[in-house]
């Protein structure tokens, strides 16, 4: 049998555009597999020459799903250029905004993008395997998902004025304090959101039993994990120091100042994808592979300072002797973070000074360089800028969560493909599992506009001379 390549394009139910290629040897066994990111953005380049104060608003345009994450990391980089200590209440308000972003994004990932696989089945009819199919068969869960996403978006809107591409976060703080009316409204709605998060966790912990094979094969291998932790080692999405933990749970490096990230991580490009691969510099590539995001954050932290979240985290840590290694557990970690984010939001809103109107510090550019690091829903987000004497951007480097996870996603695609695909017969359900491992990471390839509904999943199995051996086309 000739060598063959299976191509899955587009990969569906993720943020952005990509394809997967699976290369088979003469016996029909999977030899290699790649996750190709096919879109190119170029923000690092075309922001050059712009005033640094414009950067948060410009960077928010990178993505329609996570503009808030870019807004926050960018503003933090600009704070460093200003060299100011921003008012404590601005920090609280930015934290709430970041947590709201995590709520809406995790709800989108879990309920809209992955729950169709989990509830309707990996092998179910692909025409119905989406949020709309879920509405027909599991209306209560669909309602819960919609409500949680809506809740997160409403907080973003109440704080920042609009749900997508707000400009409320600025270098030096935020441009408006929180009103008592908005605080009270959000606090009123938190118990309902917490109840949804808790019942979803209760359900999913039982449901996971049905996915033993996926848990075993979905990017389940030893890697390091990286993320921010707070001063006391607690889970922290806004600030803190970087920590690396290995697959045995040992801390490899701790207390890394975010501004020193470049001494510890490096980027490399591959010819087959626009997405750069990031690795732990002291070990090099590929030994320095690590993962970020909800799974990593729960694997590296020492505690969660929110009671319900901490209880769930303690149970999560019982999954394995060390860190949870299967990327299928990203879903589980996402739900725990959702609950934690709601609890933390309530804590922050109840802070005595939360209505304090001093929310911005003013200064000119005092440093020629600034780094901002925060935890986005999908993992650690780094913005690094250099400016000239007039405060114009001369150089920018952005490292996004999906870049940190790129090597692990590729290795995960290979693992799933080797586990489920053999020979020259294709099965849509098996190929869906190859996509589902990518969905577990919830990569963000920057979504902007999409096709007009005519997109379909087309998979062809070709011989080396181009002969079509098998073909799958979703209706």
């Amino acid at each position: 049998m000739p060598r063959q390549t299976i191509v899955i394009e587009p990969v569906t139910r993720i943020e952005g555009h990509s394809r997967i290629s699976i290369h088979l040897d003469e016996e029909g066994n999977v030899e290699e597999a790649y996750f190709h990111v096919t879109q190119f953005r170029g923000f690092e380049k075309f922001c050059e020459g712009r005033p640094f104060s414009e950067m948060p608003s410009l960077m928010a345009r990178i993505c329609g799903i996570c503009p808030v994450s870019h807004l926050i990391a960018s503003a933090k980089a600009c704070d460093a250029i200003l060299a100011v200590r921003i008012p404590p209440n601005a920090v609280r308000l930015r934290r709430i905004l970041n947590l709201a972003q995590i709520v809406q994004s995790h709800a989108l990932s879990f309920f809209y993008l992955s729950a169709p696989d989990l509830l309707l089945g990996m092998d179910s009819d692909p025409a119905r395997r989406n949020i709309f199919g879920l509405m027909e068969s599991h209306a209560a869960i669909a309602r819960d998902g919609i409500r949680l996403r809506q809740f997160g978006q409403q907080i973003v809107e109440r704080l920042a004025g609009k749900r997508i591409h707000p400009s409320w976060v600025l270098p030096g703080g935020v441009n408006e304090p929180l009103s008592a009316a908005h605080r009270d409204r959000i606090l009123e709605e938190i118990p309902e959101a917490v109840a949804i998060a808790r019942r979803t966790l209760d359900w999913f912990k039982v449901e996971m039993e049905k996915f033993r094979e996926e848990i075993r094969s979905f990017a389940n291998f030893p890697t390091m994990f990286m993320g921010l932790v707070g001063a006391d080692g607690a889970l922290d999405h806004y600030d803190g120091k970087l920590r690396f933990v290995n697959a045995a749970g040992q801390v490899v490096e701790d207390g890394i100042e975010p501004a020193d990230y470049a001494a510890h991580i490096a980027e490399m490009a591959h010819p087959w994808t626009y997405l750069k691969t990031v690795f732990y510099k002291p070990l090099g590539y590929p030994e320095g592979i690590y993962r970020v995001g909800p799974l990593a954050r729960l694997n590296i932290c020492d505690t969660l300072d929110a009671p319900l979240g901490a209880q769930e985290w303690a149970e999560f840590r019982e999954l394995d002797r060390g860190p949870a290694l299967s990327s299928f557990y990203y879903h589980y970690a996402r739900l725990i973070e959702l609950l934690y984010a709601l609890e933390k939001t309530e804590q922050l809103l109840n802070a005595p000074d939360i209505l304090d109107t001093h929310v911005r510090a003013h200064a000119s550019a005092n440093n020629s360089e600034g780094v901002g690091v925060s935890e986005a829903p999908r993992g650690t987000l780094i913005h690094h800028y250099k400016v000239d004497r007039d405060g114009l951007i001369t150089w920018a480097n952005l490292i996004i969560a999906t870049g940190h996870n790129n090597a692990a996603m590729n290795r995960g695609v290979l693992q799933v493909a080797r586990h489920f695909i053999h020979g020259n017969k294709l099965n849509e359900g098996l190929l869906n599992r190859v996509e589902a491992v990518i969905r577990a990471f919830d990569p963000c390839l920057s979504c902007s506009t999409h096709a007009d509904g005519r997109q379909s999943l087309e998979v062809e199995l070709l011989s080396h001379d181009g002969e079509v051996l098998d073909r799958c086309l979703t209706p």
């Binding site: 709309f132 509405m135 809506q150 096709a451």
Partner: protein, 148 residues
């Protein structure tokens, strides 16, 4: 909760696709009534099903493809899940169907459209579509007056 919800949507950085948000902003400056809520949006999303289930009427305003640029269309909508396969491509009919399936009821709905001619990366409306802005706003106001 208001009696009527206006969802004016489209991408202002895609030329004539911006007619929806532009009409929505114009209406927002003209209509100040507690029974009317106006939202300008980039695109429709599933979260709109819940508010749609709580109002009596909903008016969608969007650009469309058409033979005659600037032509204004008006039609009643019925719930339907046809063509609802992608989270990024939610139709007005699909939102109505989702509102009914998940929340028990869907608002009476009308679609107002303006045929566009230029949907590439650009800001601003083409002359023909720009000339229809007053017309589509007038059509929405006429509908609102009819509901009163």
């Amino acid at each position: 909760m208001p009696h009527t919800l206006i969802l004016a949507y489209g991408n202002p950085l895609r030329g004539d696709d911006g007619i929806g948000p532009e009409a929505g902003e114009r209406l927002r400056s003209m209509v100040h009534h507690p029974d009317v809520e106006i939202r300008t949006l980039h695109q429709l999303t599933p979260e709109l099903m819940e508010p749609i289930s709580r109002v009596a009427r909903v008016i969608f305003i969007d650009a469309c493809e058409g033979a005659v640029s600037g032509e204004i269309g008006e039609r009643a909508l019925e719930p339907s899940t046809a063509a609802m396969r992608f989270t990024h491509h939610v139709t007005p009919e699909g939102l109505l169907a989702g509102a009914r399936a998940l929340y028990g009821r869907a608002a009476e709905a009308t679609m107002l459209t303006v045929a566009g001619e230029e949907f590439s990366l650009s800001s601003g409306l083409s002359p023909a579509v720009g000339r229809s802005l007053d017309g589509v706003v007038a059509a929405a106001l006429r509908l609102l007056a009819g509901y009163a």
